[in-house]
Symmetry: C2
Subunit: 353 residues, 2 copies
Amino acid sequence: MEKKNSGTVGVKEIARLANVSIGTVDRVLNNRVGVSEKTKAKILKIIEELDYQPNIFARRLASKKKLRFATLIPQVSDETKYWAAPLNGIQQAASEIKDFGIEVIPFFFDQNNRASFLESTAKIIPQDFDGILMAPMFEEESIVFIQQCNDRKIPLVFINSDIPGYNNLCYIGPNLYQSGFLSAHIANYLTPASKKILIVNISKEIDLHHHLLRKEEGFRNYFEQNGSKNQLTKIDIQQTDYPHIEQKLSQQLAKDQYNVVFVTNSRVATVAKYFEEHKIEGIKLIGYDFLEDNIHYLKNKTIDFLICQKPQEQGYRGLMSLYYHLVLHANIEKEQFMPIDIITKENYQYYSN
Amino acid sequence: MEKKNSGTVGVKEIARLANVSIGTVDRVLNNRVGVSEKTKAKILKIIEELDYQPNIFARRLASKKKLRFATLIPQVSDETKYWAAPLNGIQQAASEIKDFGIEVIPFFFDQNNRASFLESTAKIIPQDFDGILMAPMFEEESIVFIQQCNDRKIPLVFINSDIPGYNNLCYIGPNLYQSGFLSAHIANYLTPASKKILIVNISKEIDLHHHLLRKEEGFRNYFEQNGSKNQLTKIDIQQTDYPHIEQKLSQQLAKDQYNVVFVTNSRVATVAKYFEEHKIEGIKLIGYDFLEDNIHYLKNKTIDFLICQKPQEQGYRGLMSLYYHLVLHANIEKEQFMPIDIITKENYQYYSN
DNA sequence: CTGAAAGCGCTTACAG
DNA sequence: CTGAAAGCGCTTACAG
């Protein structure tokens, strides 16, 4: 039962003890075929007893094995700068694991265009990647792709939003419901009892964007559970150009005197712009994401709070999870929720997105 | 000017091009003596042109070099559970760099006992470590030690609190002033105009603990800069046992009707306990640090907000900075401020300390 | 000041 | 099914 400290014992020693050649030890170690059950058992026993830890440097130096990962996320555009952060995280992870023989090939799609998603998946499938990271935004199309990957036994990581119930390696992203719940908790602090709160969803495809609805659900449930007398109203704005948003907001804000406005995504900057142009003051504004425009309005106090969920880390950890799984055979936690960060005018300087 | 992709070219190729042996190339590569200026220049030029990147795996496999790091932080006790987190980060980093030939030896001291600090530094100095991570809590004693390390050219990393103006590799920790400033920003949201706010410092050595005073300074300055009409009062409590704190608080809270209490360190749990036992409600409570006791009172709503600064990451990044500096010869940023995280009842579950 | 050889602990063909 | 040899790209003595 004595355990030597790792590194002290190598294949040579194992081979000596098992009365075989190091080639045979290597076969067992790497689970290759061509070893009799008997010698395999003998070698495994010795490995176990010695608590053998392979030398990763020697392994990497000698090995010629290469792995190829694909990533599939929305392309960065003026409208969706958000995705620069996950891409950034992906690139950082890629450069870290490059020396370990891993090549990462990025694919993109247009968030407003299902066909572009299908185009990319059609390109990915025949290339037979060893692992895939994706943002499964279009549910229906994603499920087809997921099934294809499962058939080919390609491990799959989801980031940003989840499609539960499928056979993915893991999900890395926000707990949307809870982030809405937290937002309500903050909203509740902002002004005294009996607030009037307006929830604003701004998105072209609201019916499909469960993620906005899940945030709204969390937000609403907070007030239900905490039995508050606040009044919640909501509007869905399905055209994302400023004139349209402006009109919708004017219409809604004329109806009542609100204390808090909660915007369920990064479009909060547009609402802030409206507040500024129309000289609206005294309404607290809460929204999402650490983007340049949003930070601008945070600094000038138009936006009060931003909720952020470390998009860069989602990309980084997503790719690293594939690496840990495939190379280090590590156990990967299936649901990895990001922290729910609260950003204000006074701490954004130190935030690492 | 053509650049081959890294990894493609090795010492052998360089030696061939320079008409020397690989031994000589190695001498130049590792800056060892015994190479004529002329051949050295020739080899350096080739290395440059080829954009040669050494293979870290081959290097590590062949090298027998070892480095030894020391860490010096307060020991974890019931009173200072906080330090479990930095220690945790240190241990994680240590296990990650172990395979790269780095040994980490931890030293501790008693936060309430300067002599214990001196004892540890006296043990560290003669051992001639290659790098040291420390929490320079006792300023005077620390400066002596810092000087000794500087004389010996041992790189030094500070975590948790800084002593500016000395020759350390870097500081990794909070911006205390700003964290107080942020706390005031939050306090300002909590109740309407004209609040009465009580600042509570609880520490045995308040005169020495600049860090509490720097937080207080940030807190006060926020209100000055934002021209608010809030009234700030403060008390220093220099005995940390509960009966004493209880007495001081009772005395103070009898004087006025406060809206917000701001505790400048992790002792906020003690104040929360007082609130609970004395059935005090309606006073918002803000404090510091993600500790079990504090989270308990966050969950039951006695504490409203906790400010946290990733203590674990401080230990982790501190040790990694030594590694990056010494092994990878990377440039290390001198001041690395941690994010200022806002923790509430609704997001603590996802916080990674 | 320089070179030739051995070796780090693995993996990879190749031979039997 | 198994073994012996070569090689990955470096570093380390040792010899001259």
